[in-house]
Amino acid sequence: MLSPLLLLPLLAIMILNLPIRSLTQKLSVWVGVGLSLWQIVAVILLATGRGCTDTWGKFFTLGLSCDNLTLVLLMSIGIVTLTTILVGWQTIGGDKQRFGFMNLVFVAMIGMNGTVMLTDLFSLYIFIEVTAVASFILIAYQRDTNALEGAFKYIILSATATVMMLLSISIMLLVVGDTSFAAVGSAVKQSQGNPLVMFAVGIFICGLLIKGGVVPFHGWLPAAYSAAPAAASVLLAGIATKTSGIYALIRLTTSVFANNESVNSVLLLAGTISILVGAFAAIGQSDFKKMLAYSSISQVGYIILALGCGTNLAIIGAVFHLFNHSIFKSLLFVNSAAVETQSGTTDMNKLGGLGTKMPVTNATSLIAFLSTAGVPPLAGFWSKLIIVIALWQNGLHTYATIAVLASVLTLAYLLLMQRRVFFGKVADGLANVKEAGWGITVAASILATITVGVGVLFPWMFNSVLMPISSFLK
């Protein structure tokens, strides 16, 4: 069941690009919907213990592995890809354009699925790069100045990250002679703070922090997110950077770099700075998507903060917040896509009063922002609560307090957003705005349902779904 998650998208790309374009161009969207739905089903099957025998794996030695953390990520990848495809269906005009877009989404899917399933440092680098290359092109897809600038910034900082990761891998190879997680993990443990190894660990983490957009490595992020076409920013903000940066960081710090004390203190600090800088920067933005981008930085800070705490509960909180964040941030970007396509702008000074014109977008955006700000009983509240409790239990009272106070800031800037875009009087020239097309509203409704559902069902999920996540920690 695991290798098809990689091979099926690959197969899909190959079949779609056979020289029967006139047929496949129309088909590509349906293939995408099918693939992402299949991925969601596959994750459910895997989670319930079925489909674990890997028949395809007999022909390839891929060395994939699957634990509960992987399943959570695969699930969010499936969901966010589905919404990306729905939004792309609606927003990208022209069969040809759409076809190219779908192909790139499939490539990104391969990259992300590979990233979460592999067990080797070098393969990790390759698949992060797969995601990154697909992202560059997706960001630049519209070819206007902003898009090219955003993509360029991403490439430059991504290349910096690449250099660091490769340097780190080469040191590891020098020291360990192998790059598999298990070998590197045991070597790091044995080396007990050897400066060369710590240097390698440090720059690898920095590379991942760049990929994840954590302050002060975040310079590329606002430009890239806001310049990307609407559908691409959903994918990018929702899951692509989270998989290649944050997931990899969670995986490495827990199972490879083995909860190192000084790594943890770095993460705590970086997380806190991210939360604060992201939130304060978001308050001052007047561009819808830029604000969301900074909010993304701030939310990623929570995940990093929890990771730095290092206890089992904190890591459960981090994973849960990662999942929630991928849902509600995608939802917010879907809403921004709706606003952008319908009103033609994302400048909040020119927007206003869209709530009555776009009821679905208004309602789902309300849900998403309340969830982001951590208002009970939505999903975001519970993950933040777990993180704060874990921090407090671990004696990190200052960090816990900052986390709580920053969620007030989150509420403030998102409320500001909601008010400026959806509430109040209808702004000039927007009197004829209508609700966005069905692809966007369906995507928004799916995500909103998940956010509310996970939040409301949390008491049931806590013991049956959430606690088992920690099984990967051993």
Partner: protein, 158 residues
């Protein structure tokens, strides 16, 4: 011995050309050349795994990144290229100096490697390593090349 010296010198030359040439496309070719020479050196040093890594990094990934990068930047005019050509020595003369200094400094610093070093795998056949050990990377590389191709289609076509 002679072959080692030839390899080492050509590696330096290829690397220098990669950095100093004014055209991005030439630079790509230079990089590929450099990495091939480096791969050969690594095989000779009996480190096939590192050699394969080097090969895959340069052949697949870096080229794809270059393609996307080139597609995003503007082509130099001939005049600009000519001025760059002239400037290159004055711009890069510091580089070998820094390199030598860094080498000396690294040699002086004691890096404690006083823990058990595992032996590198002994298989020396590159085909064996690519086909039996690193299937996953191959899939990744295929995906990157595909992404690069789509990038060219999407970004270059007018």
């Amino acid at each position: 011995m002679t072959i080692n010296i030839i390899l080492g010198v050509s590696l330096v030359l290829a690397a220098a050309w990669t950095v100093m040439t004014a055209r991005l496309l030439r630079s790509v070719i230079g990089l590929a050349l450099t990495s091939m020479i480096l791969t050969i050196i690594m095989f000779k040093l009996n480190s096939p795994l590192a050699a394969v890594f080097e090969l895959s990094v340069c052949a697949g990934l870096i080229s794809a990144i270059f393609i996307s990068c080139i597609s995003l930047t503007q082509r130099l005019t001939d005049e600009q290229a000519a001025t760059k050509q002239k400037e290159r020595f004055s711009k890069f003369w510091l580089l070998p100096v820094i390199l030598v200094l860094a080498g000396v400094a690294l040699y002086q610093v004691h890096i404690p490697l006083d823990f058990h070093l595992q032996a590198a795998p002994s298989e020396s056949d590159v085909r064996n390593i690519i086909w039996n050990l690193r299937h996953l990377d191959l899939i990744g590389q295929i995906a990157i090349l595909l992404a690069g191709a789509f990038g060219v289609v999407a970004l270059f076509k007018d």
